[in-house]
């Protein structure tokens, strides 16, 4: 039986349908990604799976327990790292973990050894007695990852685990998550709007947009489905002629450049360029998830917008 089962899950606010009848299953031990732009419904889905939001309709179960009818059992099975920081800044890292252990009713004798274990995992052993206020953003996120693992959950939810972190810290956090997946049989669900993150971490990805699932497969399969490499041409391009080549699968104009899907671009590029017209610039790359998203939704994912609204939230809160 799949560890997470979701059927027609829907969350409706007054006029907005945040999650619109999604269905999918997650297998035990998988790293599963929910990829989509800001407001796509990723966090809302996670909140419903973790019992913090009540679905408007539909069904979801985690570890065999209904998220509406068996909330206590679900909560016992899950760990969560929230998108926004949720540790107490006036308490030390150790104290935050201790409180968590008590709230999850861990045996008193085991608490300290478990805390040491998770602190080692995220390299925070040396700073455990500092108040969280003195931690950097990355350290705080690591602490919250450690906290979510403290009670050895069956399913671990990470909501945008690297949002607002610098690239180096991001790499570290990916490493922790990957190690975790290797060492335990834990099922990990990650939401993200970073293509690279989804591609690097996840066994399977659900691309979610406007509350609906646009595609669901492994990153490799998703890219393969695009059918070929990406060739981007700038200049005065004769798009109609290019479309006639059998190896050109798709051609569209996006932001003044012609985007082509080309089979075996390495071999066919020369022929292509001869008939393309006045070419000023050529880019060739193998497709990434950004292209997959573009292909599915006709839009590029905007990463900057989300980052800045996150910063606004932080400044308002402090």
């Amino acid at each position: 039986m799949d560890i997470i089962q979701i059927k027609n899950l829907t969350k409706q606010y007054d006029k907005l349908t945040a999650v619109d009848g999604i269905s999918f299953d997650v297998k035990e031990g998988e790293i599963f990604g929910l990829l989509g732009p800001n407001g796509a419904g990723k966090t809302t889905t996670l909140m419903m799976l973790s019992t913090l939001l009540k679905p408007t309709s539909g069904f979801a179960s985690v570890n065999g327990h209904d998220v509406v009818k068996q909330q206590g059992l679900v909560r016992n099975s899950i760990g969560m790292v929230f998108q926004d920081p949720s540790s107490d800044t006036l308490l030390s890292g150790y104290e935050n973990l201790k409180l968590h252990a008590l709230m999850y009713n861990l045996p008193l004798k085991e608490i300290n050894s478990r805390i040491d274990k998770v602190l080692d995992l995220v390299d925070l052993q040396k700073r455990k007695h500092d108040v969280v206020k003195k931690y950097s953003g990355g350290m705080r996120r690591r602490l919250e990852i450690a906290r979510g693992l403290l009670h050895s959950p069956k399913v671990f939810f990470l909501d945008e685990p690297t949002l607002g972190l610098d690239p180096q810290t991001r790499d570290h956090i990916w490493e922790y998550i990957q190690n975790l997946a290797k060492q335990t049989k834990m099922t990990i669900i990650v939401t993200t709007h970073y293509m690279e993150e989804a591609e690097k971490l996840c066994n399977r990805i659900a691309i979610i947009d406007h509350g609906k699932i646009a595609a669901l497969d492994s990153p490799a399969n998703l890219k393969r489905a695009l059918g070929g490499d990406k060739v981007i041409l700038k200049g005065r391009i004769d798009t109609e002629t290019l479309k006639k080549f059998p190896f050109v699968k798709k051609a569209e104009v996006i932001e003044g450049a012609v985007h082509l899907s080309v089979e075996q671009a390495g071999k066919n590029l020369q022929e292509l360029l001869c008939s393309a017209g006045d070419v000023e610039n050529v880019e060739v790359h193998s497709p990434d998830l950004n292209d997959v998203f573009l292909n599915l939704t006709g839009r590029a994912m905007r990463e900057e917008g989300e980052a800045s609204s996150y910063i606004q939230d932080i400044t308002r809160a402090t």
Binding site: T51, L52, L53, S86, L90, K98, N105
Partner: protein
């Protein structure tokens, strides 16, 4: 041996209490202002209004129990503000996602804030010795008990209001429409004897009135009180029970 379920609840309550208490003691400015503010108002009111009557000392003694109640009113509703803040900084999510029942969460939070409020009000109670209050051992202990049952009700009220509020910005309204009416209608700074009927009615609805009256009875003597002390205590206890029910209900429906 205590059962597994009880152990779970006790651990949960301890964790919630510990967090509130630690946060309180680490915010030095909060500790300071919560004690200094009532004292400041006490001297302003005591000397300002007292000067009209010619005998400031009598008036100051008369309003002292009211200022003990004031620390509870202010801290209690501050506890409410804190839960709105918790929502904002997302620590509340971390608590709500644990397997703890909402009843445990409510009582844990209430216990934590009660500790803060009682430390302050007991401290002021002790300062009363230097302000010329004459306590016996029993009157001191009774005052502590009254402050205890009053604090529980008020903090629960704060938590209930806080659980309904979406953002800390609305908290200004609460202080204007809840804290000040509770304080000013309690008879903390004036006698209840010669009030117009409509105001009498309002003062009788205010639970703080009964706390102030009971404290006056115990600290200053029966002739300063308007109602029998048993009635005061019965009303306060009734208020506590009511708040426990409403509070548990409010926390069960609490969503983010």
């Amino acid at each position: 041996m205590i059962g597994e379920r009880t152990a779970k609840v006790i651990k949960g309550l301890y964790a919630l209490w510990y967090r509130e208490f630690r946060v309180f003691t680490r915010e030095k400015s909060r500790v300071f202002s919560s004690v200094a503010l009532p004292l400041f108002w006490y001297f302003i009111f005591g000397n300002g209004v007292g000067s009209m009557k010619g005998n400031a000392v009598d008036y100051q003694h008369f309003i002292f129990p009211g200022f003990l109640a004031m620390t509870i009113i202010f801290t209690g509703l501050f506890a409410g503000a804190y839960i709105v803040w918790d929502k904002k900084i997302d620590f509340l999510k971390e608590v709500l996602i644990t397997p703890l029942s909402r009843t445990t969460v409510f009582f844990g939070k209430a216990m934590g804030s009660m500790t803060d409020a009682l430390i302050q009000s007991y401290f002021l109670l002790a300062i009363g010795i230097f302000l010329g209050m004459k306590y016996s051992v029993s009157s001191f202990l009774l005052s502590m008990a009254i402050l205890f049952i009053f604090a529980y009700g008020l903090i629960s009220l704060g938590l209930i209001i806080g659980s309904f509020m979406e953002s800390p910005e609305g908290y200004g309204l609460i202080s204007s429409f809840v804290i000040y009416p509770l304080f000013l209608l309690s008879g903390a700074v004036y006698p209840l004897d010669n009030l117009p009927v409509w105001m009498q009615v309002l003062t009788r609805i205010d639970p703080a009135t009964y706390a102030v009256d009971a404290l006056r009875f115990v600290i200053l003597g029966a002739k300063y009180a308007n109602m029998p002390i048993l009635l005061d205590i019965a009303v306060l206890l009734f208020f506590d029970v009511l708040m426990a029910f409403v509070g548990t209900w409010a926390f069960k429906r609490l969503r983010l």
